[in-house]
Symmetry: C2
């Protein structure tokens, strides 16, 4: 594969993540090509179907989250509090909410490698959160999935996101959510474990 072609391919994946996050999984593919500054044909050549593109987005994003969780685990020894904060900030930045439709719409026929990445990411994130629970930084009565889903929901696309006046809103809401995750909060009703989810 030619070097410039590979670069364009990666640009497309990034653009797709942004557009899926902003306008949902049904966003016109033309918009993604435009966002990537690339012709529509280039998109179709790289990703014959919408699902191919969605899976590529899932693959890279999940890998990034895994990477972030692994780093946070490393840093847990020294400064667990800061490590957790940085991890959440980075995940917020990734706009994971964009992944939900891609992963859920076709959980059954998910390509094996995406499925694997998902499992690995899930394992690493779970380890991180259990570690933090052990350290008394996160409440015990919550499962990792719920935390990730909460972040995903709060960072999903939103009309107001494009307004300058509310640019500050999402971080604030995340902060409240994180405050609610601390162990000194009021107890939660017991969870029912979902099978199907982003992570």
């Amino acid at each position: 594969m030619r070097a410039d072609a590979l670069e364009r391919r990666n640009t497309l994946i990034k653009a797709a993540r942004a557009v899926f996050a902003d306008r949902g999984h049904d966003a016109p593919l033309d918009a993604i090509a435009a966002q990537a500054g690339v012709g529509i044909a280039t998109l179709y050549r790289n990703f014959p179907s919408r699902d191919d593109l969605a899976h590529a987005v899932a693959r890279t994003t999940l890998a990034e989250v895994r990477e972030l969780a692994a780093r946070a685990l490393d840093e847990c020894g020294d400064e667990p509090e800061a490590a957790w904060r940085r991890f959440v900030e980075a995940v917020v930045e990734l706009r994971m909410g964009a992944l939900v439709p891609a992963l859920v719409n076709s959980l059954d026929e998910l390509p094996p490698d995406v499925r694997d990445t998902r499992e690995q990411t899930k394992a690493t994130v779970t380890e991180l959160i259990h570690r933090l629970q052990g350290l008394g930084l996160l409440r015990e009565d919550i499962v990792p999935l719920e935390i990730i889903m909460g972040i995903a929901m709060l960072t999903r696309p939103h009309v107001l996101m494009f307004e300058d006046t509310t640019a500050n809103l999402v971080p604030r809401l995340i902060a409240v959510f994180l405050a609610g995750l601390r162990p000194d909060g009021v107890p939660l009703p017991p969870p029912i474990l979902p099978e199907t989810a982003v992570l």
Copy 2:
């Protein structure tokens, strides 16, 4: 106006709220008519434009929220904690997230009566939250708008919402959010007040 026609009109508004909440403000009007179990012509006769319908949804929903806040204020004397819980539960049930696009897309040319209802609702909700802050049940470093927006974001439509396995997720996330709203949580960064918002 004939009695059955009025009833259909109300059914349409409820259906529109549900469909807007589930599929966004751009949902096809046919879907709303279908959800209401009514012909498309009936929808167009009652609401010539999409905005007319959206405004009707906003009008009734905002009025309902105001009603709920007023009731919660009444009950604050006896059992403020339970009053707050019931208020939030009811607002969650209303799927306020559906309103955001309707109110924001055209804040300028919002019909006067909707604008008025919005102001009144805003005032009552603000009073309720200030009261609860005074009672030490809610943290002081947050503005009413942020609370409502948090609930709206967490109750927005979501692919997973339709899965039985995750039916339990939203209440849990709301519970975490509420826990984060309690005054004993960690302090939040200072807010920047948004001008434009649901409430």
